[in-house]
């Protein structure tokens, strides 16, 4: 008797056969994808140079510097939290690497490894305080943001006597570190920055983790309903702290790129960038309230950002319009997400 109840969903009359288009429309990143295509076609039409390989490589590079962070920030947002300290944490990481190896005259790689430890530790501290105090992540990471901003400026002046870190281009290991974090790969006649490949690899790994591992399941669960997750035995605290540490790791990669793309870092930089990462994640379909979204969405959000940023230049417009445009994209994307969430929750 019960055997008759098991039947393939396609036979069940209550499941309407959905065409591939409808399936696609149910994905979290669909709003962003439509936006990206519209934007791409738009800039291709208004600008002669936008479709040239060099221009595309530039757009991809711009996207990747946002996108690398957007990967971590998207995962964190799906896990129900967000981090305002990311922008300055990137600079903290770069400053740690350069100041340490400069002050102690070590191989640059010693500084790079130390910076990794510091970046991941900042993430850990953010997550740990959050879990201990149960304060909103907005407050906790706002505090970290302010403290790091102050530390960046204060320590840089104290140690190096300037607002920017001293040049480390002559030090041991600089060339090899530059090859890893800030080189270019020539494809055909076009130089593509290595960050583009790092970005794509990070998105692939994050997507796999999110959709095909235990940890991914837990990330959705702690963001969707952390009480329910705890009740069925999901390690909620470890998952959230781990997410903050992953954000720290992404910050380290970007920080190293910023350092080795030039040879010194301005200690006051990075303020405000945290919003760009959050915007990329939100445009990409991640819900601010958690429990829904994708790593690919964050990547598309970053790509939209990169296109808009560089496209306005290629179209020879005044870049003043960029911020207005970004705000509009954010608003539209959030409205689309809201509709998606309501449809998923209600029947």
């Amino acid at each position: 008797m019960t055997q008759t109840l098991i039947r393939p969903p396609s036979v069940d009359e209550r499941v309407a056969v959905r065409n591939p288009l409808q399936n696609l429309l149910g994905r979290p990143e669909v709003g962003a994808l439509v936006g990206a295509v519209v934007l791409f076609v738009f800039f291709a039409l208004v600008s002669q140079t936008f479709l040239q390989p060099n221009a595309i490589a530039t757009v991809l590079y711009g996207s990747s510097t946002i996108g690398i962070m957007a990967v971590g920030v998207s995962l964190l947002m799906i896990g129900g939290e967000f981090d305002l300290s990311t922008g300055v944490a990137v600079i903290s990481s770069a400053l740690t690497a350069s100041m340490f190896s400069w002050y102690f005259s070590t191989n640059v790689w010693v500084g790079v490894i130390l910076a990794l430890v510091v970046s991941v530790a900042i993430g850990f501290v953010n997550g740990w305080i959050l879990m201990k105090t149960k304060l909103p992540s907005f407050i906790v990471t706002l505090a970290t943001f302010l403290m790091l901003t102050g530390l960046n400026l204060g320590l840089t002046r104290l140690i190096g006597g300037s607002v920017s870190s001293p040049s480390i281009s002559n030090m041991d290991g600089f060339k090899s570190a530059q090859a890893i974090f800030a080189s270019s790969v020539t494809i055909g006649s076009v130089d593509v920055k290595i960050t583009v490949f790092i970005w794509i690899a990070l998105v692939a790994v994050a997507s796999w983790v999110l959709l095909r591992t235990k940890v991914g399941n837990w990330i959705f669960a702690v963001g969707g309903d952390s009480n329910a997750a705890r009740a069925v035995g999901v390690p909620v605290k470890a998952t959230k702290i781990g997410l903050f540490m992953a954000v720290g790791f992404c910050g380290w990669i970007l920080g190293m790129h910023n350092l080795f793309a030039f040879d010194s870092v301005q200690s006051g930089e990075g303020v405000g960038n945290e919003f760009l990462y959050i915007i990329a994640a939100v445009i990409g379909g991640c819900l601010l309230t958690g429990g829904y979204g994708s790593a690919v969405g964050g990547a598309i959000g970053a790509f939209i950002f990169g296109m808009a940023n560089k496209g306005i230049v290629y179209a020879q417009w005044n870049p003043d319009w960029f911020k207005f445009f970004l705000g509009l994209m954010l608003l539209l994307a959030t409205i689309v997400n809201l509709i998606v969430k309501r449809r998923a929750e209600l029947k």
Binding site: K214, A228, V232, A344
Partner: protein
């Protein structure tokens, strides 16, 4: 005529209770108490749960039902008395502890994560994986198949295990949570007011799954404030009021009317009738309550 009360000491010390198959109870509480600061939330509660039996815990709001299940589910620790699992004295430090001891709790509101697909919810916290080391990945197809099969065996016919669980009705969600507990080898299943927010038909569906779980050999603790839901499925009834046990009955010793009367409290009903009359309540309603009062003081 008052229902004969079970001698609680007798029930626990000599295993002569006709409901007991094993020499010891699957789970038993003896004079368990709990206080939060100077507030006594629960005192002197004694009850037992056996394989294939349903123990109902009845009580009005604030009677101590939630405190009782929180102790058994490992969310709180008791201050007095003892908790035995298969005859062994235990005290749980966390929900994970209780889960490991085979006690699964299905909460009324936080059973599932609404935005996640049914199969992901079903396996949440106990996911199946294949592969080695850092490359362990979810065995998606197996999990989907098992979810569908397990739910079908519980008599739950779901459209599509890929849909977000938030799209299911409240009753269906409870049933998924029950099926999940059964599949993961729960020995004791605690149901926290599973029918409280449900309509008549949905409640019936959930009650049927309670019996299914019982027939699969689980010990079920069914918490409710509705004697009409408790009586048809229960084997034992523990009545709580203001944190104290006001009665512990075997099904053969009590009728539905008596259970209802005990729950409501005859004196309080009489007072309610009087109050309604004074407020100029609808005469039919007053009569109804008065009839009820007459019934309870019988």
């Amino acid at each position: 005529m008052n229902a004969k009360q079970i001698d609680q000491q007798q029930l626990l010390k000599d295993e002569k209770d006709p409901l007991t198959h094993t020499p010891v109870h699957l789970l038993s509480l003896e004079n368990v108490g709990k206080h939060y600061g100077n507030i006594v939330a629960l005192r002197d509660v004694t009850m037992a749960v056996d394989n294939g039996r349903v123990t109902c815990v009845l009580g009005d709001n604030g009677a101590g039902k939630s405190t009782l299940i929180k102790i058994i589910a490992g969310l709180h620790q008791h201050d007095e008395g003892v908790l035995h699992i298969m005859g062994e004295e235990r005290k749980f430090d966390s929900p994970r502890d209780a889960l490991d001891a085979g006690i699964a709790t299905v909460y009324q509101d936080l059973a599932v994560v609404p935005l996640m697909p049914i199969w992901r919810n079903f396996f949440l916290g106990s996911e199946l994986t294949s592969g080695f080391g850092p490359f362990k990945s979810l065995d998606v197809q197996a999990m989907k198949d098992i979810t569908k099969k397990e739910l079908a065996e519980m008599g739950i016919d779901l459209r599509d295990v890929e849909q977000p669980i938030g799209q299911l009705s409240g009753g269906e969600r409870q049933c998924v949570a029950i099926a999940r507990a059964v599949y993961f080898g729960a020995k004791v299943l605690i149901l926290d007011e599973p029918t409280a927010a449900l309509g008549v038909k949905q409640s019936g569906v959930v009650l049927r799954y309670i019996l299914q779980a019982r027939d699969r050999g689980l010990g079920v603790i069914f918490i409710t404030h509705n004697p009409h839901h408790a009586f048809p499925v229960g084997d034992r009834f523990l009545l709580l009021k203001r944190g104290k046990s006001i009665g512990y009955y075997d099904k053969k010793d009590i009728t539905l009317d008596e259970l209802t009367a005990q729950m409501a409290g005859g004196a309080e009903l009489a007072e309610l009738a009087h109050e309604l009359e004074q407020l100029g309540g609808h005469s039919d309603v007053v009569k109804e309550v008065q009839a009820e009062v007459a019934g309870t003081s019988r």
